[in-house]
Point group: C3
Chain length 357, copies 3
């Protein structure tokens, strides 16, 4: 959690966001360009020192009564609310995210190696890295410039960590696995444990040695206690810009397409291929050896049991209801084919009622 900086005028903030957006956002500032913003807060708790945002018209009332010193919002919401200081933007949430990055910049890594870190002599750690207490970096591992290896982290033999990538305390990247630049691996994540591969033989299970790796692209974030297994043969691949939440499980030899987001508690079985720009809702489950094409959205809690070849939004969740009602309906689900058969008999008409079968 980066410390808060002293504050910026709205003019400074707008310019800084414009620079980092690089032309992908259009925004205009209304009100006092010299107004000083010290931080951000939600509409409800914001004070005149704070910038806040409105991205969903559902929260207009909260915006109307908010004490926020300035507000990022869309044209229509601006017309309705007319706040004194405002940034009008077609994508207020993205503008706000970039403004937060300006107000709360990730602190620079202060290079150095804690005396309680253990770094193998053949590991290649760039001079600009920070290695904290209890971290272990094994032989032949490479850690590029500006990387930060937190307390108690583990970087296995021959593993590679890209420039500016941060491993939070207790993250683990096992032997030969790689992560690109500007990545974030949160605490307790395990990258490169053995895939789950066994052959059945005479009543016991024979392990297949897992000789593949995990290869992760640039700008990838991996959540706390998430696990990504190494490939059996060949690699498990996470492409650039993928964002993975906590407690996600990704099996051996999966490929996750660029800029896909995966919410918490999702499980993806071995050899599944997920397309680019997909969104998997929390606790969605993906079968092994299937393919999901680009631009697919899966509802939370949905199990995807076969390939999806058409972009779109897919769901499959039993709706919740009061338990007594559920018990009656669940019992009927068990006998749905009987209901269908009774319906068929009715459709066949009275003439059919005497029939056998």
């Amino acid at each position: 959690m980066p410390a808060q900086r002293p504050g910026r005028t709205l003019a400074e903030l707008t310019e800084a966001v414009q620079t980092s957006a690089g032309g992908t956002l259009t925004a205009r500032l209304i009100g006092d360009a010299q107004y000083v913003i010290e931080g951000v807060a939600p509409l409800e708790t914001a004070t005149p020192r704070h910038l806040s945002f409105l991205a969903n018209p559902r929260y207009r009332h909260a915006a109307r009564v908010s004490r926020a010193g300035a507000m990022v919002l869309g044209e229509t919401d601006f017309e309705a609310l007319r706040p004194r200081n405002a940034v009008i933007c077609d994508n207020p949430y993205a503008w706000f995210a970039l403004a937060m990055q300006v107000l709360y910049p990730t602190p620079a890594v202060s290079p150095g190696q804690a005396p309680q870190a253990v770094v193998a002599p053949t590991a290649r750690v760039a001079a600009g890295c920070r290695i904290d207490a209890g971290a272990v970096i094994e032989a032949e591992a490479e850690v590029a410039d500006g990387a930060w290896i937190g307390a108690g982290c583990y970087v296995g033999e021959g593993a590679k960590i890209g420039a500016g990538t941060r491993l939070y305390p207790g993250a683990r990247l096992l032997a030969e696995c790689q992560i690109g630049a500007r990545g974030i691996v949160h605490s307790g994540a395990v990258i490169g444990a053995d895939g789950f591969g066994f052959a059945s033989l005479a009543g016991r299970w024979v392990k297949l040695p897992q000789i593949g790796r995990v290869i992760i692209g640039d700008d990838v974030e991996i959540g706390a206690n998430t696990t990504i297994d190494r490939g059996t043969m060949g690699d498990t691949v996470i492409e650039d810009g993928v964002k993975i939440d906590n407690q996600v499980q990704i099996g051996h030899n999966c490929r996750i397409g660029a800029h896909t987001v995966i919410a918490g508690c999702v499980g993806i079985a071995g050899s599944a291929r997920i397309g680019r720009r997909c969104q998997l809702g929390g606790a969605a489950m993906i079968h092994g050896h299937i393919e999901i094409c680009d631009d697919v959205i899966v509802s939370g809690g949905t199990l995807i049991s076969r390939s999806i070849r058409t972009p779109g939004f897919y769901s499959g969740v039993f709706p919740f209801m009061p338990n007594r009602q559920w018990e009656r309906n669940a019992a009927l689900v068990r006998h749905l084919h009987e209901l269908r058969d009774r319906l068929r008999r009715l459709e066949a008409g009275p003439a059919a009622e005497g029939e056998t079968t």
Copy 2:
């Protein structure tokens, strides 16, 4: 796992439980008050040295044939079974729990700091704490009296740990997060990783810095490998007396009401608010930005997709069945609206059959 103490007479045990229950339990002792109990065991494996309990009439047979030296049970069960030594109580399970606490007390913390622990000079660690090998306590962190920080634990910058709270080996409380008194955090839990917050911008995801904290009340237990994310802005809050099992995921800015219990593998998405005294069954999933009122029970495996404003018991699980039967019924679920349409046509009667549409 605390070591077993030498044994107590039933009279001593009854008195000690009465004291800790503080008037919330009524119980009476039948039989030999001087009978010595050395430990506890389930009905099936208990010997005359053991105390056991019967809280569910379903297990009456096991109680009848049990060799237990004494038994905690309700009035009706007592009348049916007439064990020689018994504690008759309106809440036998709670009485038994308190008796276990008497027989197997949590060992006192022996203060001290392992030479392999790393404690920042500006951390404020009370004299009565125990800090084990490999633990790291960062600058400005506060650890109150009687706390125990296990091997390989991590306490981040400015984090606060209340009196008597125990972090099992490998638990992590990240920067600025707080937990109150008498808490337990099990191994591998991660408190305060970044919330999962990104804004979509021109095909990539822009991270919102996560500047909130996790604030946890008193008497909270947090299971192994459970993750609780820090707030984006504002805090994630876990109120007093909440009990959380293993591998639970709690997203940024959630609030969990006092004395709620959350079973294993539950996922709660960001900004959800759970009431007090709720019970979430294993692997239940709660959508983000919804509210669940006090005293709600959710069945295991149920996905709650909108707010619940009435206390009660809610379910939503597809019933399991032999696979072949499931395949037929699942296929019909996909076409339920067609069944409904056919039913409507039948209801409309033969006159309607010739109609178009």
Copy 3:
């Protein structure tokens, strides 16, 4: 990830596999017995240096165009494809697994204790063990010959680790728990955290001290970030040959029968008993206090809410579909009993339509 050995002729490989299979596999070699195999690869990426396999006729086309130097496959596939070098086997996948074990043998443990490991004076660590940096081994723990305790692992007081068992970096076996010989515990796994046991008393939860252990047999593999809780009273038991994937949660006092496999993200609530040779699909959930007999297969994502006494294949998952279709069908599931009632009225015939009720 073991390093690749220099290569074997097909004759050597066949003989080595035959030896390790010990009569459980019949196979015959076709082609050049002196052909040298340097490694394995999937059909698609194999080169003439590689051995590959075909176990599913669905991949026959990939096999036909594969450049693999040799192929393990069944009789029928062989007849269809006629590769130049082949091992014909009734169980090609098992043969291939054993061949991988020959080509990529688990490296022998090089004994020794890292100076940054912390081993209690009363711990009994066999001479042939390897203890890595940051590992902590508590008093009275026992580590048998050939075991490897990875970086940052924790072995609690009185815990026991069998011969040749490997704990990957950051695995934790808490006090008094045991694992047998030739086991593998992956990173972040927590064995022996407290079971989730509380009694309700006057609006708060009273903890039952968890005094049981976790007892794990021989040849068991436990996945990354998996948690297995100790028993409340009595033990949690994992029998020989069980294979458990990542992020599985096993509650207190469960018993998992020998050679059962449990896929990722499965949750098993307390006191459940799973039979032998069962297969639990990913994210399956098992209620507490139920029994599943031997030889049961449970589909991924299925919740088992009562005991299963007949071997077989069980499922219970809401089928996924485009979201709009799902919304209509899910709404109907909520009202299934009304559909049923309407059907009944139709069945009763026009005479019944005027009836009250």
